[in-house]
Amino acid sequence: VKKLPELGVGLLIHYSEKYKNYLEHVNNHVDFYELLLIHFSENPNALKRVKKELKKPLLLHSAAASLATDGPVNETMVNSMKERIDNADAPWYSEHLCFTGVSGLQAGTLVLPIMTEESLNIICDKISILNKKIQRPLLIENVVNMYNDVGDFTHAEFINEVLKRTDSKLLLSVENMSMSKRFYPEFDHYKFIDELETSKIAQIHCPLGNLEEQKITPDSTYGSLEKKQQLHFDVLNYLAKEKKVKPNALVWELETETNSIAEPKDFINYLEWSKDLFFNKEVIKL
């Protein structure tokens, strides 16, 4: 695998006016940005302009490739992905380990694969095609366990096997772990992490909601959104201190379960905290 650069702590932004204003407050603290490929599917050239405007490295995140679908790769889609990734000159891009449907029928979400040897072969073949066509490192992201693990592997074992066979790295989504518990109550964040080959984690996605709203928003799975957010911070601590994870990038996601996004000052606080946590500086206590 080509060695990935260390990008530091970034922000996943949606291509909209809301974020344009937000960045004026936080841009000086952010090391890089991540964008969603889907926002540029009808407008790939806009990525060149956005790259110039943001003046920071860009990562791109995809949900289109449906790596586990038992069927051929959609070449038009791959070419379109490549165009957008090249326009952004992304040092790497990421895709979910899932299927989104079959030819002519989409589920409308990212579905956890049936975890069999057959499924592994399908996924590894598709990743090999993407690697040949796109020629940039691909990170694989864990999806939500919307149902139990079905097949010959657990979810974490399956991810490890894909990473091993394709020589890929992992994008670990903390939010997807938390959402798993919503649908599949047996899911356990720490058990899942302990089963993962954590040395392969190159990027982390972690959500940050509006802290004030989280305090007053009840949640059927976690008691309150504040408790869910605290679990996310605890998971980051666990990854850094117990599992000694050294990612190349940590990305905060602001689109979470509160109506408003995090206040810029709160975001900056947690951004700096996570820089210290993962990127070899003294840990700040919040």
């Binding site: 009808e42 989409q106 979400t109 649908f183």
Partner: protein, 264 residues
């Protein structure tokens, strides 16, 4: 071994409420309907369909949220009429196959909604409002084919309307939609609307990401002159003093807001 039949069944489970119900009560028939192989059946029997059902409901909610966003102006009115949930639920129950890209599902919704209005005998102005919303959202997502104006406006260079744009004639006055000032409290208010032809200009917004802008065209002559490869001197040379004084600041504003561009 294949997985495609099992993946088809799971995908359908997400899209189709009937499949979700059938899996609970007559599982074998569902497996048969989707032609699952014996290996696939063994795997399918291990699936926790209760968890998957929660996922399917959540996914449907997200899809409907996207269609609400695409048809923002229409749904403000449908919410007032307390028809929004019924329209969306009828849409997902009818449209249970196919791919779900934004543009495709949005077009699918428009086709569905036209028939819904006719079948439910609702005022046809709703179809025009849906079309208005559809053009707005399509242009918001459309590719930018031009660049932002940088140099100052030169009276001797030809001007043009920036692509992509669309000029649409509606048979009802949809002007109040632009001002978010449509006073609709019930179905009778909609039925009472009189036909009044309105020309509306929609355009991709270059200054704000993922958005579009809209103008009512009440001076078609002016609008048509904007796209005839004329310089501003030529454009203003053909009109009287009064119009010249009215149009010059307007042209400056249109250039500043990137509605028009300037050729070399």
């Amino acid at each position: 071994m294949t997985l495609v039949n099992l993946q088809t069944m799971i995908s359908s489970f997400f899209r189709d409420e009937n499949v979700r119900n059938d899996v609970q009560i007559k599982q074998d028939r569902v497996f048969e309907r989707f032609c699952l192989t014996s290996d696939e059946i063994k795997l399918a029997r291990k699936i926790d369909f209760l968890s998957l059902g929660k996922g399917a409901l959540n996914t449907t909610k997200e899809r409907l949220g996207k269609r609400r966003a695409d048809y923002q102006e229409l749904f403000i009115i449908l919410e007032t009429l307390e028809r929004d949930d019924e329209v969306l639920s009828s849409f997902v129950n009818k449209e249970v196959s196919g791919t779900l890209g934004r543009k495709l599902d949005s077009e699918r919704f428009f086709e569905f909604f036209k028939y819904y209005v006719l079948d439910e005998d609702l005022p046809e102005v709703l179809i025009e409002i849906a079309e208005y919303s559809s053009i707005m959202s399509n242009l918001s997502y459309a590719n930018e084919v031009d660049i932002l104006n940088k140099e100052s406006l030169n009276l001797n260079k030809p001007i043009y309307l920036k692509e992509p744009f669309e000029l649409k004639t509606f048979s009802y006055d949809l002007g109040p939609l632009i001002e978010s000032d449509f006073k609709i409290n019930n179905i009778k208010d909609l039925e009472a609307l009189q036909k009044s032809e309105t020309k509306i200009f929609f355009q991709k917004e270059y200054l704000v990401p993922l958005s579009s802008k809209v103008f009512i065209i009440d001076d078609l002559e002016f609008f048509e002159l904007l796209n005839q490869n004329l310089t501003i001197s030529e454009l203003l040379g053909n009109v009287n003093d009064e119009k010249r004084q009215e149009w010059m600041p307007l042209l400056e504003e249109l250039y500043k807001s990137n509605v028009i561009g300037m050729k070399e």
